[in-house]
């Protein structure tokens, strides 16, 4: 209860200050105030890296035009190959990681990356992969393939990556 009462005491004290009387105001610094508590540092647990196989290395990225979320025709063969592989082996699971260039709001860029991942996911679905095999996620602007502030660099960051999970 102490914690709850103190702010109202301060508020009362401040309200009383509006008068011109000499006022002895009472307040306190709460013992439980978190500012005096050390904030313990948590380190994120290490995770096993997603497995990459030859098909991934050969081509696991689909690129998009500026402000576009439509899969380019040149990316069709790659998406076909991935869809075929998923359709043939229903135990296979893939994550589509959408990405965006770094300009603008991080959260809005996360949504744009999701839009790209979602476009790839839908294409895979149309080509025979099943919902349970695909997760479309976004890394937004957080995983740039290229970090220069040039248009050619931005173009490399507007992409979707296929990442196969360990089986």
């Amino acid at each position: 209860m102490k914690k709850l009462l103190l702010p109202s005491l301060v508020a009362l004290a401040l309200a009383a200050c509006g008068t011109e009387q000499t006022t002895e105001e009472a307040s306190a610094v709460d013992d439980s105030a978190s500012s005096t508590t050390t904030v313990p540092t948590v380190t994120t647990p290490s995770r096993s890296a997603a497995s990459l196989d030859p098909l991934d290395r050969a081509g696991n990225s689909v690129f998009f035009d500026y402000d576009s979320y439509v899969v380019r025709s040149e990316a069709r063969p790659l998406i076909d190959a991935h869809a075929k592989r998923l359709a043939q082996d229903s135990s296979r699971k893939v994550t589509i990681q959408g990405n965006a260039d770094e300009r603008g709001s991080r959260e809005y860029n996360l949504a744009l990356g999701q839009k790209r991942a979602e476009a790839v996911r839908r294409a895979l679905r149309l080509l025979g992969a099943r919902d349970a095999q695909i997760e479309a996620v976004s890394l937004g602007e957080e995983h740039p393939a290229c970090t220069e502030t040039t248009e050619s660099c931005y173009a490399q960051n507007r992409r979707g990556d296929f990442v196969y999970l360990g089986r």
């Binding site: 002895e24 307040s27 610094v29 313990p40 540092t41 380190t43 603008g104 959260e107 976004s138």
Partner: protein, 438 residues
Amino acid sequence: MIKAPASCFPNVFSGICRLLSAAVLVCAATIAHADIDITVTGAGAKLFPVIIPVFENEGSLPNSVSEIVRADLERSGRFSLVDLGPLTLPESKTPDIAAMAARGADAVLAASVLPSSGGRFEIRFRLFDTTHKEGNPELGGMLLHLSPAQHRLAAHRIADFIYEKLTGIPGYFATRIAYVVKSGSRYELQIADSDGMNAQTALRSPESIISPAWSPDGQHLAYVSFEARKPIIYIHTLATGQRKVLANFKGSNSAPAWAPDGKRLAVVLTKDGLSQIYLINADGSAARRLITSSGIDTEPAWSPDGNWIYFTSDRSGDPQIYRASATGGSAERVTFEGVYNVTPRPSPDGAKLAFVTRNEGRFRVAVMDIASRQVMPLTDSARDESPSFAPNSNMILYATDIGGRGMLSATSVDGAIKQRLSVQAANVREPAWGPLQQ
């Protein structure tokens, strides 16, 4: 300054360095948490001259509390300090008002530190108006009980009291800020006092951390971590380091925003396709869709009365700011100028909306008067992001980019007062200003 070894994070070994106004450089290399350097780059047109003397017996506390109060007031860009040297003005006596006025001060503090039981202390202070010609010049005072470790918070409370008495606006010094530091390929979510001191790392990760959001009680941070190679929302209890997953649905989970009651959050999920806004209980239960569109809806933010959710949507083609009732229903468009308006952040008093607008390829923070819908650009850099209001609704903290390096800046809502906050040799981004500390 000590250069941090490559393997060390900058808050561990860098020096304490503060640039005060007019290039007064106070620099002390120590192994303390040095934290954020704050540079005042713009001040108010009229500065209020005040005398903050050394507190009687302040040497019994670990640091000079009067120094902390002076630094707060000076950094705020609203005060000038009239120096009284080593002279103390005990709280028990009314100072010589005429003499203080003659030194050019409009207000003077009388303050004492007194030992209390159990190793604790009291700070007693009274504030006086030296321009007051008749009657009682006292503006009020306070008694603060504290342990020695609480001297910083006590000093910030005193500065808040003085700030409010003399400007009529509540202070913001007894607050903390959260932000993300990127150093090499490592990320740290850090918490510091509003003066940049006492920086501590809450979370360390090899993957990005974005969108930290303070719970209304200041005890927890919600944020988005990419540690599992997808965006997942966590709630982190700062005092204990305990963290739990708030939302890890299929797809992406992001943009947490606490409801003012602290019991629910608005979040963005993609479990049903594109980014859409859901409400979820603070324990992670009962996720339900709040707003429905065929495009992107993201960056939800509550109005302080809990009635509205402001958000970014591309439903009209370009990203614009909308708002909808927090109980759902149709959305109302809020921004109309330009083709890129994102990151809506209502002020705690509900009167203003800060957001990011793109103009000729430059991203700037602007502020809208919600009643009149009048928009004023506030910042003038090229890559300003993530505006966050101080609890007094008068200052806005935001991320900026200077020479390719991420830094934080703060501006008053009228744009007059500007500060830059930087961490040595690191990129700082994603600031979030916490509530007044209880």
